[in-house]
Structures are given as C-alpha cells and as structure tokens.
Amino acid sequence: MKNNIRLERARLDLTQGELADRIDVSRQTIHAIEKGKYAPSTVLALKLSRVFDKPVGELFELEPND
C-alpha cells in the first residue's frame, strides 16, 4: 500500500514527532508508515485523515499486489 503521509506532513510543516503527538502514537510508527513498512489500522488512518483534512483514499492507495 502506497501513501503520501510524508508529503502531507511536509505540507503542514510537521516533524514525525509532532505528527506522532497529534495522533497519539510513537514516532517510530509514523516513520514505519511513511516507509510503507507498516499499514495502519482504520482508526489510525482516520486520525491521519483528520489531521491532514483529507479523505483516507487520498492519503493511502492500494497497489496491484494488495
């Protein structure tokens, strides 16, 4: 699954730590999501969607092998 969390985070000028604080997760989790190593739960995806004020479908995108 691809995502553009890194781009959206840059748009809001947030560090990984600041974004992590906003959605109450660890910085490692944000890092892992951005690197595509970890697919967040629906709850976390919705929290990210709220922070970036964008629908989940615009933040995450399925790949052909998903």
Binding site: D24, V25, S26, Q28, T29, H31, K37, Y38, S41, V43
Partner: protein, 159 residues
C-alpha cells in the same frame, strides 16, 4: 474504539531497572567464571566452574522486566512488534526444550555407562549451564533481541 489496555505491563521506568539487573548479572557471572578458572589454573582452589545460582535468576528477572515494561507510548505498531517477538520466543522455547531433553538424556546415558565422569568434564558442566540458561532465560533473550531489532528497524532514521 480499539484502545490498548496496557495495565498489565510494568511501568516504563522498570525497563531501566531491568537493563541494570541483566547487565550486572552478566558482568558478575563472567567475572566470577574467569576468576574461578584462573584460581583453579594456578591451583589455589579445586573447582571446575562455580556459578552462583543467584545470577541466572537475576538475569531472568532483568530480561522479563525489560520485555514487560510499557513503552513511553504504547501504540498499535508496538503491539504488533510485541506479538511478532513473542512468536519467535515460542519457536525458541521449542528448540531449547528439545535441546535440553536430548542433552540430558545423552549425558545421563554416558554417565551411566561410565564413559564420562560428570565431575571432571568441562563440556558436561558447560552443557548443564546452557540447559539451565536455555529454557526460560533463552526464550526471554530471543524475545528481547527480536523486539528491539524490530523497534530499531522501525525508527532508526529521524526524518
């Protein structure tokens, strides 16, 4: 929603205490082992390998505290990492258990047949030490290493 219940974890500060206990036990264990062997080598004492039973207990408690302590921020990814490392711990426990059974049976057979003398064979003592460390501490060690390896991999480079 899916809130994470962390009430059954130890407080975060217990992690530091765990590292101190585990580190201390390894240092004292190795120091004693080397000291006793040097003393034996220069014939001051006659002992093959003296190891205080207190030290493996300290090591086990230390590792258990590290693994069971709450992270600063327990989230869903940490929960997944815990699950993965515990799965590896199960594999390790099975392997170490099989090793213990095979080693114990083999050694007892050799002792009964008089092929080895359990009091003077270094490898027998080493094997029994590994057996002692092999079951619970070995499993905890595998969980500890895998858990921290995943944590490290997840967040090794800041932005």
């Amino acid at each position: 929603m899916d809130s994470i219940n962390t009430s059954y974890y130890l407080p975060h500060y217990c992690k530091k205490i765990g590292w101190i206990l585990a580190g201390l036990s390894i240092v004292v264990y190795l120091s004693l082992f080397i000291l006793v062997n040097i003393l034996e080598f220069i014939s001051i004492i006659k002992a093959n390998a003296y190891v205080s039973p207190f030290l493996p207990i300290l090591l086990t408690v230390g590792m258990a505290m590290i693994i069971s302590s709450r992270e600063k921020r327990e989230d869903e990814m940490i929960r997944l990492i815990r699950l993965k490392s515990f799965q590896y711990g199960i594999y390790a426990a099975v392997v170490l258990f099989i090793y213990s059974i095979i080693f114990e049976t083999g050694t007892l057979m050799l002792l009964h047949q008089g092929i080895i003398d359990g009091h003077n064979e270094y490898w027998v003592i080493l094997g029994f030490m590994l057996m002692e460390l092999g079951s619970i501490p070995g499993t905890l060690f595998v969980i500890l290493v895998i858990y921290h390896a995943y944590l490290f991999k997840a967040g090794k480079d800041e932005e």
